[in-house]
C-alpha cells in the first residue's frame, strides 16, 4: 500500500513539473502584448515600453520561467499584470466562491443521482425506470445556462426569494452568501446529477448480472438486500470516477453559469485573464487546476482501494 502511494505521489509530481513547462511556454506563444492592451490604441510607444518594463516583460523567456517556477515552489504565483496584486491573492478570493459552489453542487448532484440510479436499476425496464431515465435524458440535454435563466426568472424576478446574481462575499455572513450560491449550485448540479444517475444505473445493472449476485440471491437474500449489500458497493468504481471528473470540471469549467449569475469565480477570472493577456494569472490558475486534478485522481484511486479490497493487495 505505501509503495503504491509513493509511486502515485511521484507520478503526480512529475505531472506537475511537465505541466508547468507546457503551460508556461504554450501560453507565451499566444499573440498579444499585455502592456499594449492595458494602454490601448492611443498610447505612445514609449509609454507602452515603460509599462512593459514595469511588468517585468522585458526580461528573457527562460529567465521568466525559472523565476516563475521557483516562485511556485514557495506558493508565490507572481503578480498580476492587469490587477497588479499577487496572483495567489486573486486565486484565493475566487476560490472562496468556486470551491464552496463546486462542493455544494457536487453534494446536491450525488444526493439526487445515487437514489435515482438505484431506483431505476431496481425497476429495470419497468415504468419507474423509463420515467427516471427520460427525465435524466432531459437533464443531460437541457443547456445549463437556459436552466439557470429559468431559475432566475422564477425564484428572483417572480418570487423574489433570492438575488438574481452577484456574490456579497463571506464577510457579509454565511446566510446571504449561501443564498447567492443556491441557484447557481442547482443549475450546475442538475445536469451533473442526470449524468451521474445514468452512470449509477448502468454500473448497477452490470454488477447485477454477475455470478456473485446470483449466489447471493440463491442463498436467500431479498432483491433489495442484494442490491444494497452486494451490488451498490461493487458499482461504486465508475461512479467515483465520474464524481472525480465532475469535481474538476465544477472548479473552473463553470464560466457560463458564473456569467449568468455574475459570480466572481475561478472560471471568469481565467477567461478574463486570457482576454487581457494577463498570462501570469492564466498560468497560475491553470497550474492550480492541474494540481487539483492530480490530487482528485489520487484521492479517487485511493478510494478505489477503499471500496475494492483486491486493489489494496495488488499494489
Amino acid at each position: 500500500m505505501s509503495i503504491y502511494l509513493i509511486r502515485r505521489l511521484a507520478s503526480g509530481l512529475l505531472t506537475l513539473v511537465v505541466a508547468s513547462v507546457v503551460i508556461f511556454f504554450v501560453l507565451e506563444i499566444l499573440p498579444g502584448d499585455p502592456a499594449r492592451l492595458m494602454l490601448g490604441m492611443n498610447a505612445t510607444e514609449d509609454a507602452v515600453q515603460a509599462l512593459r518594463v514595469q511588468m517585468g516583460l522585458d526580461e528573457g523567456l527562460y529567465a521568466r520561467y525559472v523565476q516563475w517556477a521557483c516562485g511556485l515552489l514557495s506558493l508565490d504565483f507572481g503578480r498580476s499584470y492587469t490587477y497588479s496584486v499577487p496572483v495567489a491573492e486573486l486565486i484565493r478570493e475566487r476560490a472562496a466562491v468556486s470551491l464552496p459552489l463546486a462542493l455544494i453542487a457536487l453534494t446536491l448532484s450525488t444526493v439526487i443521482a445515487i437514489p435515482v440510479g438505484l431506483f431505476a436499476a431496481a425497476r429495470r425496464g419497468r415504468m419507474g425506470d423509463t420515467m427516471a431515465m427520460t427525465v435524466s435524458q432531459f437533464g443531460v440535454a437541457v443547456p445549463n445556462f437556459w436552466f439557470a435563466l429559468m431559475l432566475v426568472y422564477v425564484f428572483s424576478v417572480w418570487l423574489r426569494l433570492v438575488p438574481a446574481g452577484g456574490f456579497p462575499g463571506w464577510q457579509s455572513g454565511i446566510w446571504p452568501a449561501l443564498k447567492a450560491l443556491i441557484l447557481p449550485a442547482l443549475a450546475l448540479a442538475l445536469p451533473q446529477a442526470a449524468i451521474l444517475a445514468r452512470v449509477t444505473r448502468s454500473a448497477l445493472l452490470e454488477v447485477l448480472g454477475e455470478d456473485f449476485i446470483r449466489t447471493a440471491r440463491a442463498k436467500g437474500l431479498t432483491r433489495k438486500a442484494t442490491l444494497w449489500r452486494h451490488a451498490l458497493g461493487n458499482a461504486m468504481l465508475p461512479v467515483l470516477t465520474i464524481l472525480g471528473l465532475q469535481f474538476a470540471f465544477l472548479l473552473a469549467g463553470t464560466v457560463i453559469i458564473e456569467n449568468v449569475f455574475y459570480l466572481p469565480g475561478l472560471g471568469r477570472l481565467l477567461v478574463q485573464a486570457i482576454n487581457q493577456r494577463d498570462l501570469i494569472v492564466v498560468e497560475g490558475v491553470v497550474m492550480l487546476l492541474v494540481a487539483a486534478v492530480v490530487l482528485i485522481n489520487l484521492l479517487v484511486d485511493l478510494s478505489y482501494a477503499f471500496v475494492d479490497p483486491r486493489l489494496r493487495t495488488r499494489a
Binding site: 494602454l39 498610447a43 490587477y83 452577484g166 462575499g169
Partner: protein
Amino acid sequence: MKLWIPMAAAAFIAITAGSAHAARTELVLGMPLEPPHLDPTAGAAAAIDEVLYANVFEGLTRIGARGEVLPALAESWTVSDDGKTYTFKLRTGVKFHDGTDFDAQDVKFSLDRARGEDSTNAQKGLFTAIDTVEVVDPSTVKVTLKQPQGSFLYNMGWGDAVIVAPESAETNKEKPVGTGPFKLENWAKGSSITLTKADGYWGNPVALEKAEFRIIPDAAAAVPALLSGDVQALPNFQLGDALPQVQSDPRFKVVIGATEGETILATNNKKPPLDQLKVRQAIAHVIDRQAIIDGASGGFGVPIGSHFSPANEAYVDLTGTYPYDLAKAKELLAEAGYPDGFKTTLKLPPVAYARDGGQIVASELRKIGIEAEIIPVEWADWLKQVFTEKDYDLSIVSHTEPNDIDIYARKDYYFNYDNPAFDKVIEELNLTSDEAKRKELYQQGQKILADDAVNGFLFELPKIGIWDAKIDGLWENSPIQANDLTRVKWVD
C-alpha cells in the same frame, strides 16, 4: 407657553416632511466590464473612467454632459496672447480623501508624472505640448507650452489628466485617492466597486450617499437583475434582443444617446489595391449604413460620413459624399483595373458591432466582386496584427476617444494614410484657439477624409442607457467615457 404650539407643529411638520421625503440615497449600477485597476492615469480601459471620473478623481478642468469644458480644480484661468502660457487659479480648501491638502504642488506633480520618461499614461500624447509646469504660489500654477495648442483646456479635462497626490499616486490602482465627491469604500474583485460620499467635498454636495457599480458580464443576466430590482441602472449596456422587454416596462427609462465612438471600416491605405482612391471610393459606394446599423447595432446609432461625432458642434453631414450606388461602384472598380473585383481580408475583433457588421459589409462587397474573407481575431491579437503590425486589409472597429480626428495626421498610424493637406489642417488647428476658426478647420478636415475615403465611415456608436424611471441626473450622451454621479438623485 404659547411658543410650544408652533414649535410642536414645526417639529411635526419636520418629522412628516422628513419621512415623506426620505428619498433613496443608494444606487446600484450595472456595467459589463470590470476595470483592470482604479487609476485613470495608467490605463485605457473605459471601465476605469466609467467608475472614477468626476466621482472620485477631478482634473484642472472637466468635461460636462454636452462635451463642454468646465472649471473643476482650477476655478479660473488666463491664457497669454501668444497662446503658450496658461495660468490656472486653483480652488483653495480642497482636500484629498486621505486628508492631505490639494495645492499647486499636486498639479505640478501630476502633470510632470504623466509626461515623464517612465510615464505609463495611456494618453501621454495629451501632455506632449507642455514645456514647463511652474508653481507660482500654492493656489496658482503656470503651464508653458512648446507651441500653442487649441485643445489644451479640453485635454486637461480627460480622465487621464486628473490630479493625483504624490503620497498616493503609486497605490491609486488599488486604493484610489482623489478630490472628488465620492471615495472608494470597497472593491470586491470580479464582483463590485462601492463608492461612498466623501466628507468635506469642496463643490456642490451630492445627493447619493452610496453608489455601487456591479459587474454583470452578460446581457442575459442584466435584464433579470434590473427586473428584480437588484440593479437600478445600466447606464451603458448593449442589451441586444432583450431591450424590447425593458422598453415596454413603464418602471424603466430607456435613453438612447450618443458616444464619441466612430465605428469605421478601417482600411490599409498602403496595401494594393486599397491604395487606389478609386477602389476605396467603390467600397464607400457599397456601404449601406442603415443596414449595418440595423444588423449590427440593433437599429441604434447615427450614420457618419467622416471621422467626427454628430454630437459635436463642428460636425458636417458628409454621408452623401459617396451614396449607395452599385453601378457607380462597379464602374470605379473597372476604372481602377479590377472589373471582376479582387480578394481581400476582413479582420474582426470580438465585439458584436464588428462581427455582425462584418457579415453585412462582406455581403455588400461581394455584390461588386470583392471577396472579403472574414478572419475573427481576439482583442489582443487585433492590437498586435492590425494596430501594431498593420498586417491587414480591412477591419471594423470603433474609435472611442473624443475629438480624435487628429489620428489621421499621425505618422505610421495603422490606416497608413498620408495626406500633407490634412496634416496642415491639423497643424493649424493645434495653433488656433479661436472657436469659430477651429470649427471651420474641423470641417475642412472632415471633408478631406470623406473625399479621400480613407476608411469606410459607418456609424456613431450609441450609448444605450436603461434606468429606473425615478432616477434623475444620469448622462444621456457620453461625450467622454464616464458615469458622472455628481447630479444623480432619486425623485418621486
